[in-house]
Amino acid sequence: MLRPQGPAAESSFDLMKLSITIMIVVLLIVFSIAAYVLVRFRRKPDQREMPEQVEGSFKLEVLWTVIPLILVVVLAVPTVKAVFAAGNDHSNDKNAIKVKVTGHQYWWEFQYTDYGVTTAQDLVIPAGKDIAFELSTKDVLHSFWVPSLSGKMDTNPDGTTNRFSFSAPNEGVYRGKCAELCGPSHGFMEFKVKSVSEAEFEKWVNSMKSPAVLPEDPALAEKFKSQCLTCHAMGDMPDMSSAPNLTGIGSRESVAGILLNDDTGVDGAPVLENLKTWLHDTQGVKPGNKMPDPKKDMNLSDEEIDGIAEFLAGYTLD
């Protein structure tokens, strides 16, 4: 929030700077009057006479009514301007990338309606382009927030869909969060925004559309199909939106949104390790999440779980 990386976040940041400047001035005035009064007008031990009973002062009172009013106007004008600027959601902009964001307990679904591509947890966008978001939820309210790129917007149930827009001029990976209490794992409902070059974005879209792959071991492939793919989708399979799309999960920034993938092990762990952590203890990683437990509910053995983790870790996009 304090290191804005896009125009939407900068507009918020400018207003924050303006308002905090005004407010520090106000605080300084109040604090110095208070300090002066408390030092100067302490009651001395021998003081017996009655202080003068002042009723008020019309001039002073007008002064401290008018000055705050002026300060309010100074802040209100740019605020109203920025509110209306933020109202431009780019939904009719032909050059904008349209993304339908759907909140789920506790993961994010991203549908690129113009490209026919659906993914989860990692929002890949071309740098510099306006992204036109359409936000809704499949269950409870969530709030879609990428602090360094833009303010947040709630995901409401269908029928009360919200639209807004931001862009990321610089390439990079930005942290996204859910900002509206949505259940036990509200704090773990994170996602990533990956801002990449336009060429890279096109390449990513194409590889997302390539046919699904399955584990090499036929037995494991069968288990994977019957146990996992009933909810999850991959590659060119139709997406039911009931669980995160798994296409290219091996090349994502995180597993389950919060287990950061980092082969160096500094900020997280290698993707395979994270997948194993997740699949062996989904409720431990993300309490209250809706995925059936691979071992208890789906009767997968530890070896099968590890096998699936290895397969998923190797399922990368070129």
Binding site: M1, S12, P51, S57, A76, A82, G187
Partner: protein
């Protein structure tokens, strides 16, 4: 001499001039309709719930002391934040406000009780039973977990399957009934029962603040009651007011909640403004600067308070027009609030400021509350709020306003009026220790939370990932919370030690009392004023003092005083509502026990509860109770 002459003429015997059956012990407290005893009941009950809410806060802070902490699980944490917010607002600070209003308002306006003593007791008991019901959720299947705001659909049965939210909706409806009754009672009391000569513009500021607060209660509480009823219907009777897929609207709840919720903020803070406006002039030995502008600022704040609810919903997606309008209307509130701050400062200007414990709290209030106020203006700017919203910046802001504002104000008021309520001065040394530990702890806890919010920490997260620079600030915040806890313990110790001393506080223990409550004994007799005083100006007692008088001029001769009878009916009515609420909540449950199922599923428990309540009402209506009189002989101690 005039007084003595009057008392020599005995008034004619009255029909009800007889002594009344006096209850003792527990029965005295359950049946009392005396505003001073009800004040003490409110104080103990509010203090109890405040303690529970405080313990919940400490648990929350322990969980957040380090990243990925496992001290509490996620579900328990959500229950704790929900109950902390709900308890503190509805069951902690509001009853303490009502305690002070009950203890002080009749005395400050020169009245012998409130307008409706029976209703006063009813208001207390419904509040208490509502609060008890809400807290029973901890041991009856799980506390509410959807936040104190209970946004739908998270608060619907589909996503909150326990009875937790039912305890919230029904408990708050019962407790809210008490608040509404209390509000109406104070409106009637202040309008009709002021002593002769006390015009509206001669009322003490605390009376004005309580008057306007009561008016806000009158308009705001029906909104939340409707909302809670609709949510109850959605949850228990499968209605769909807030179910978007069935034609309802989940955003509707947010509007209903906040059209109550924002005025609620002013219900809380205006009495604190009133307390500060009493304490500062007393200890500066100077009249309140700009009294009439204070009154109008208070009215303006109350009015604007109803025009700003959607600033809690800037990110809900209301569109630019609504966001712009609510931004500007919210910023406008800064103007009347600023007037108040400067008026307090200039009350002390040229005065002789004494730093007693109540005044320390009042003086500490000014800068602390101002900080909460300026962050409020920052939040009012909608595009900036897109970032601030639902982060720890907001948590810091509203704790600065509610704790740094209201709770400091309540501490000031409690230390100030304690001798009047209990006849004993609280220990000044311990009071100063309370002040310093509490206020230092407070700023440690909440100042750093501004930065946590700015760095991107959302509120209501049960833990957070490492490497976000959140760790150190959260540790500081938790240490601060511990220090606030220490401050509370010192305060409790002070109360305990004081209670063991003889009740020897003089009538005017601070020596510079300005208003009518300081003209009578501490604690006052049950009829308050032997003779209704004649009010000759603002700060009635101070005016007499400056004219060289030691006492007020009476406005009537000594005569028999009419007193209301003690009654257990308000207690019984509340017990009835409590049983009915509990029965209704479990009416759809499968008990696996034929008898329990029969009782609950056929609404028999609900019916029994309602019979008790309505039966008590019938009894109250059919049997006239004219009360009783205290004769002049008794007043003169003969």
């Amino acid at each position: 001499m005039a007084q003595a002459a009057q008392s020599l003429n005995p008034s004619p015997p009255l029909r009800h001039d007889h002594s009344v059956k006096r209850h003792t012990g527990l029965m005295d407290w359950i049946t009392t309709v005396d505003h001073k005893k009800i004040a003490i009941l409110y104080l103990w009950a509010g203090g109890l719930f405040f303690g529970i809410g405080g313990l919940e806060a400490i648990l929350i802070r322990i969980q957040l002391i380090k990243p990925m902490n496992t001290f509490l699980d996620a579900q328990t944490f959500n229950e704790l934040i929900t109950m902390h917010g709900t308890t503190m607002i509805f069951l902690g600070v509001m009853p303490v406000i009502f305690a002070l209003m009950n203890a002080v308002i009749p005395l400050q306006i020169g009245a012998r009780d409130v307008a409706f003593p029976f209703l006063n007791a009813l208001g207390f008991w419904t509040f208490l039973f509502g609060g008890v019901l809400l807290n029973l959720s901890w041991i009856m299947g799980g506390a509410p977990d959807a936040g104190w705001t209970s946004y739908t659909p998270l608060s619907t049965t589909q996503y909150s399957g326990t009875h937790g939210v039912d305890f919230y909706t029904i408990g708050l409806q019962i407790a809210g009934l008490g608040t509404l009754i209390g509000g109406i009672n104070f409106l009637a009391t202040i309008i009709t029962m002021r002593a002769p000569g006390m015009s509206f513009m001669r009322m003490p500021m605390f009376v004005w603040a309580s008057f306007i607060t009561s008016a806000i209660i009158l308009f705001a509480f029906p909104a939340i009651t409707v909302g809670l009823v609709l949510l109850t219907f959605d949850r228990i009777l499968e209605a769909n007011f807030f179910d978007t897929s069935a034609g309802g609207n989940s955003v509707l709840w947010q509007h209903i909640f906040w059209i109550f919720g924002h005025p609620e903020v002013y219900i809380l803070i205006l009495p604190a403004f009133g307390i500060i406006s009493e304490v500062i002039p007393t200890f500066a030995r100077k009249r309140l600067f700009g009294y009439s502008s204070m009154v109008f600022a208070t009215i303006l704040i109350a009015f604007l308070g109803f025009m700003v609810w959607a600033h809690h919903m800037f990110t809900t997606g209301l569109g630019p027009v609504a966001n712009a309008l609510f931004s500007v209307s919210t910023m406008l509130i800064a103007v009347p609030t600023g007037i108040k701050i400067f008026n307090w400062l200039f009350t002390m200007w040229g005065g002789q400021v004494r730093f007693t414990t109540p005044n320390l709290f009042a003086v500490g209030f000014i800068p602390t509350f101002t900080m909460g106020g300026v962050t409020g203006v920052m939040l009012a700017s909608a595009p900036a709020d897109f970032q601030f919203h639902d982060t720890y910046f907001v948590v810091a802001h509203f704790h600065y306003v509610i704790v740094g504002g209201l709770v400091l104000g309540l501490f000031a008021g409690l230390h100030y009026w304690w001798p009047k309520m209990f006849g004993r001065m609280l220990n000044e040394t311990l009071g100063k220790w309370t002040f310093w530990t509490f206020i230092i702890g407070f700023h440690l806890t909440f100042f750093v939370q501004h930065f946590l919010g700015l760095m991107g920490m959302q509120r209501r997260v049960f833990t957070y990932l490492p490497n976000q620079q959140f760790d150190l600030l959260n540790l500081i915040s938790t240490i601060g919370a511990g220090l606030m806890g220490v401050g509370m313990l010192i305060f409790l110790t002070n109360i305990f030690l004081t209670s063991r001393k003889p009740a020897d506080a003089p009538d005017d223990p601070w020596e510079d009392g300005r208003t009518l409550e300081w003209t009578i004994s501490s604690p006052p007799p049950e009829y308050n004023f032997k003779q209704t005083p004649l009010v000759r100006g603002l700060d009635a007692f101070w005016k007499e003092k400056t004219s060289g008088h030691k006492t007020m001029t009476p406005a009537e001769p000594v005569g028999p005083i009419h007193m209301p009878s003690a009654t257990i009916l308000p207690f019984l009515m509340s017990v009835g509502i409590f049983i009915a609420g509990l029965g209704f909540m479990f009416s759809r449950d499968d008990f696996g026990n034929a008898f329990m199922g029969f009782m609950f599923n056929n609404y028999l428990v609900t019916a029994i509860g309602l019979v008790i309540t309505f039966g008590s009402m019938l009894l109250r209506s059919l049997y006239d109770d004219h009360g009783w009189h205290i004769g002049p002989e008794e007043l003169e101690g003969r």
